[in-house]
């Protein structure tokens, strides 16, 4: 399959601040997840892809064409920006139809496409309300609608699931997956690993403006699993709990927290640890009250991977 999006040594500086460094990547049809903590360079990458920023070094093409100042390219590109910004005095319908007119469609096509897009995101009933009165979830869906309304071949979604409730997230994930299945190239960013996992197995890991890893999500998981994890277990019998795990080959360290009722385990194998913990928790004397993983967030994963 040939690459739809191709970048070569793509770099961007804002004065002395590095936004993106030496990104060479090819993206094919289907859903690709761009994963990275806040400030990793995801939005910079998307702004470069959509021609809003000019590369400091390197090049990028979509369908073999440069994008910046090439307005024709946007017939085939749809962008859902991260920022919660709208022409607030317009209704959802006016917002969408005015943007569709800019795609060059005639009045009947504009109406049909707007109707279809608002139907997809379930906003038809509220199309006449001004955007200012929309809830956050409705605004996110309207942003998505304007990105897909003109049937683009490339859909770029910058943190589309931000701030949505679980039901809203599930609906949008389903819509994005439908788009991917239709053979379009969908690039979606997030700083939340489970969100990306729910969308795709193909991910690009970005950190401090650099690509850390590219490939299947299992590869990233494997990378993560080569590093120790910290798991906190709260129990009314912390000493018994600690004694149960001391000596296991995959447990590197055991610490008692200041509160004395929590034990911190450092393990090289989460799966085996949790398997044993589950068995232990089932014992009447175990008294396990809570299990948390303080480092089970993306920033910690990145910290592991970059060795900080």
């Amino acid at each position: 399959m040939s690459a739809v999006i191709a970048t070569s040594k793509l770099s961007k500086w804002y004065g002395n601040v590095l936004g993106l460094s030496d990104v060479t990547i090819s993206i094919e049809p289907g859903i690709t997840g761009l994963l990275g903590p806040n400030g990793a360079g995801k939005s910079t990458f998307f702004n470069l892809l959509t021609g809003q920023l000019k590369p400091s070094i390197g090049s990028l093409t979509i369908f073999g064409e440069p994008v910046r100042n090439n307005s024709r390219a946007f017939r085939r590109i749809g962008l859902c920006p991260e920022q919660d910004a709208f022409y607030e005095e317009l209704s959802g319908w006016e917002f969408l139809t005015n943007l569709l007119r800019l795609q060059g469609y005639g009045p009947s096509e504009v109406a049909a496409k707007a109707e279809k897009a608002l139907g997809i995101v379930e906003l038809l009933a509220d199309k006449g309300r001004v955007v200012r009165s929309y809830s956050h979830g409705m605004r996110q869906r309207l942003k998505f609608a304007q990105a897909i309304a003109h049937d683009p071949q490339v859909v770029i979604l910058d943190e589309p699931l931000n701030g949505l409730d679980p039901l809203g997230k599930r609906k949008l994930i389903r819509l994005i997956k439908d788009f991917g299945r239709e053979g379009r190239t969908v690039l979606v960013s997030s700083h939340v690993l489970p969100e990306i996992e729910a969308l795709t197995a193909d991910i690009v890991l970005l950190h401090h403006g650099k690509i850390l890893a590219v490939g299947g999500i299992q590869n990233i998981r494997d990378l993560i699993d080569t590093h120790p994890h910290i798991i906190a277990v709260r129990s009314s019998a912390p000493r018994a709990l600690a004694a149960h795990f001391v000596g296991e080959e995959y447990v590197l360290n055991v610490h008692f927290e200041n509160s004395r009722d929590s034990v911190l385990f450092e393990t090289t194998n989460r799966d085996r640890f949790f398997e044993r913990l589950t068995r232990y928790a089932a014992e009447p004397a175990a008294a396990v009250e809570e299990v948390t993983s303080p480092d089970d967030n993306l920033q910690a994963v990145f910290d592991y991977l970059v060795g900080t």
Binding site: T50, Q52, N69, S71, R75, I77, P81, L99, Q103, G104
Partner: protein, 260 residues
């Protein structure tokens, strides 16, 4: 041209729905209120010798020429690009198959139309209130047309300049205010050719001399050394086209980065 038309249609529609337009519409009615008060005063047996045309040319036109069109074009002109950047909506426009120059020119045209309508409504209303005894004279209508023409040229020229300013500077309003009520209001009274560095000089050169030669308020304009009509019109058109071309060029190349 089609893309300019589409952008124009979008912002002519959006612009008239904004609260800013509604607020400025009220401000543009302020001189209408003054004219109505004057007429009411006259009807109630006030100073019968006071001339409506005199009030119109020396007070109302001064308000329109040296205040209203400056304020309106400053806020609408600078907002052509700055409101998109500050509101973070620029993304929606620059990711459409529309050249950036079309975005700028289409939006400028839309906002110029809105400002022109606001100014014309106020000016025509004032004119009719203050001169209704003369409405049967063709000369009266020619005077009105001339004033409308001059103000429209002013809106085009100032709008072009402020569109450039808003594209060039991040905080353009303050500079625009200094230009409007500092530079324009001072330079126009300088003797010799210095006054030709003010846009208002060319606008005043196109007005009937009645405004510049007599009356209680003639001190505002008595130092005018007028430029000929054709040269004034040409200069105003060149100012408009020049600043719009610069703005379009700048907008094409400039990167806009949203602030957190």
């Amino acid at each position: 041209m089609k893309t300019i038309r589409e952008i124009f249609a979008f912002f002519a529609f959006y612009g008239r729905k904004t609260r800013r337009t509604q607020a400025f519409f009220l401000i543009s009615l302020f001189p209408v209120a003054i004219a109505a008060v004057f007429r009411f005063h006259q009807a109630m047996g006030g100073d019968g010798s006071f001339d409506g045309m005199y009030l119109f040319t020396n007070v109302i036109m001064t308000f329109f020429l040296q205040f209203l069109i400056l304020v309106l074009t400053l806020f609408f002109g600078t907002s052509v690009t700055s409101e998109e950047v500050e509101g973070r909506t620029l993304t929606y426009l620059v990711t459409r198959p529309v050249p950036k120059s079309s975005i700028l020119l289409g939006k400028y045209a839309a906002y110029t139309l809105i400002v022109t309508v606001l100014v014309w409504i106020g000016l025509v209303a004032c004119f009719l209130i203050l001169n209704f005894e003369r409405l049967g004279e063709s000369q009266t209508w020619l005077v009105l047309l001339r004033y409308l023409g001059v103000l429209t040229l002013g809106i085009l020229a100032y709008g072009g300049f402020f569109t450039f300013l808003g594209t060039f500077l991040k905080k353009s309003i303050m500079v625009g205010l200094l230009f409007s009520f500092g530079w324009e209001n001072v330079i126009q009274y300088f003797p010799g050719s210095t006054q030709r560095f003010a846009i208002v000089h060319y606008l005043k050169s196109l007005l009937p001399r009645v405004m510049t030669s007599r009356g209680r308020f003639s001190f505002l304009t008595f130092r005018l050394e007028p430029t000929s009509g054709p040269v004034s019109i040409l200069t105003l058109i060149l100012i408009t086209a020049g600043f719009l071309a610069l703005a379009a060029l700048l907008f094409h190349h400039k990167e806009y980065i949203y602030e957190d």
